[in-house]
């Protein structure tokens, strides 16, 4: 008995080696689902925080790539919007037939750009974007962002363009109030970068605070139904027949980065039409 104990003490490590090896092999080829499940759940509860920590650092490396993918996706969605086309699809015809018959005419096309210069607190604010004539940008194109309206392209150079921001004394955007569908004009009130005035709404029209204001689509620069903001102040003015309305702009102008440029494909046609009735 003593000999056995001595033998075991001397060769304990061989025994341990065999035991551990057996455990390892059991772990590898365990056909029982339950222990494996227990180990893997335990394993995940241990490894989870480690992977999270790794992700915390590595996620930053992919942001730029991710961003370009998202911008491309947004462009695709913008292009598919109903307001980008002249005729809505007919229920009697399929999509393919409509495009074949040229019934669904594309009016607006979109590209994206990054804002590289931007002011907010001046009397007349401009933006500069990093796309220009070589990217097909021309005078009078609309600039929007994911939150709403930004402005109109003013001047174009080879690789850059300047944009008249909505926060500019000359900017004037045709707007429509939902749900009353009244037309008005958005003009900036020159001191608050978060608010603008909505003009030309008659006093008798029922307008509530909180009503949404969209682009009307009549200006041919902006497509229909792009959010401008919500009504935040309403005042009945006894001197004029119009209401004094203030709109809280949905766009945060101090935080612009990626913007989308809207191109009207029939701009020259519409321009010539417009010039003809100016001559009248």
């Amino acid at each position: 008995m003593n000999n056995l104990a001595q033998f075991l003490r001397k060769n304990f490590h061989y025994l341990l080696f065999v035991i551990l090896q057996i455990i390892a092999i059991i772990l590898i080829y365990n056909t029982l689902n339950y222990p494996r499940f227990v180990i893997s759940t335990f394993g995940k509860s241990v490894t989870g925080p480690f992977y999270e920590m790794r992700h915390f650092f590595t996620k930053h490396f992919n942001f730029e790539h991710e961003n370009t993918i998202l911008v491309q996706e947004n462009l695709k969605l913008l292009r598919e919007q109903e307001s980008s086309f002249i005729f809505r699809s007919d229920s009697l015809l399929t999509e393919a037939e409509l495009t074949k018959l040229n019934k669904r005419l594309r009016v607006y096309d979109y590209t994206y750009a990054n804002v590289i210069h931007n002011t907010v607190h001046k009397k007349n604010n401009y933006l500069i974007i990093d796309k220009g004539a070589s990217d097909g940008i021309t005078y009078d194109m609309a600039v929007i962002c994911s939150d709403g309206v930004v402005g109109v392209v003013n001047d174009v150079s080879e690789h850059y363009s300047s944009v008249i921001s909505l926060l500019h004394s000359d900017s004037r955007i045709s707007a429509k109030i939902y749900p009353s569908n009244q037309l008005g004009n958005i003009v900036w009130d020159e001191d608050d970068p978060e608010k603008a005035n909505l003009l030309d709404i008659s006093q008798h029209i029922n307008i509530n605070i909180g009503d949404s204001v969209f682009t009307s689509g009549y200006s041919y620069v902006f497509p229909k139904n792009i959010l401008i903001g919500t009504i935040c102040e309403k005042e009945v003015n006894s001197k004029s027949s119009f209401l004094t309305l203030k709109v809280k702009l949905s766009t945060n102008f101090s935080r612009l980065n990626t913007v989308y440029i809207v191109k009207n494909l029939y701009k020259s046609e519409l321009d010539s039409l417009k010039s003809s009735f100016k001559n009248e």
């Binding site: 490590h13 080696f17 551990l20 390892a24 092999i25 772990l27 590898i28 180990i39 394993g43 790794r54």
Partner: protein
């Protein structure tokens, strides 16, 4: 003594973190995936009781397994590695005195050729076991063997680089 223990623990932690965060994501040329945590096992002093060495190797392998979701494979390979380690060392140092068995193979104590053969042999044993357990088939055996050798050479290269860069002074290992 305390210094050696701390040094070893520190080495294990650092190498395991590198293994988990970096090396598990390396897929060089499609099949090269270095397992550099072996270095910690190779540098484990032989003076530690054998059963304790086995436990350390098993737990180390199991930690790598949990992160690689290959339950048991690395544990088994590490255990075999630590089991064969004294035999490989004694086999490689024939005709020399037995005292060398208790020293640790680091640059400065052994020449480069010895270290290269020793490291490659140990790494090859480990990688071979890991790969065979993962595949669990003898189909395309020679192709597997070539990829194991390639992977072993890569790991050996990294381990030797690390060893020569971070060689501690001789007196730390007694």
């Amino acid at each position: 003594m305390n210094n050696i223990v701390l040094r070893n623990i520190f080495r294990f932690v650092i190498l395991l973190l590198i293994q988990i965060y970096v090396c598990n994501y390396v897929h060089f040329l499609g099949f090269i995936n270095p397992y550099i945590y072996i270095l910690a096992l190779l540098l484990l002093p032989l003076s530690i009781p054998k059963s304790f060495q086995y436990l350390i190797a098993f737990v180390t392998g199991l930690i790598v397994d949990i992160f690689a979701m290959t339950y048991g494979i690395h544990a088994s390979a590490s255990l075999t590695l630590i089991f064969l380690k004294p035999y490989v060392i004694s086999w490689l140092t024939v005709g020399k005195n037995r005292d060398e068995l208790t020293t640790i193979p680091i640059p400065g104590q052994k020449d480069f050729k010895w270290l290269l053969i020793y490291t490659f042999l140990m790494v090859f044993i480990h990688h071979f076991i890991v790969t065979m357990f993962e595949l669990f088939t003898f189909r395309k055996f020679w192709l597997t063997l070539i990829s194991v050798i390639g992977n072993s050479l890569f790991t050996t290269f990294i381990i030797l680089c690390v060893q020569y860069i971070f060689t501690p002074t001789k007196k730390d290992y007694k």
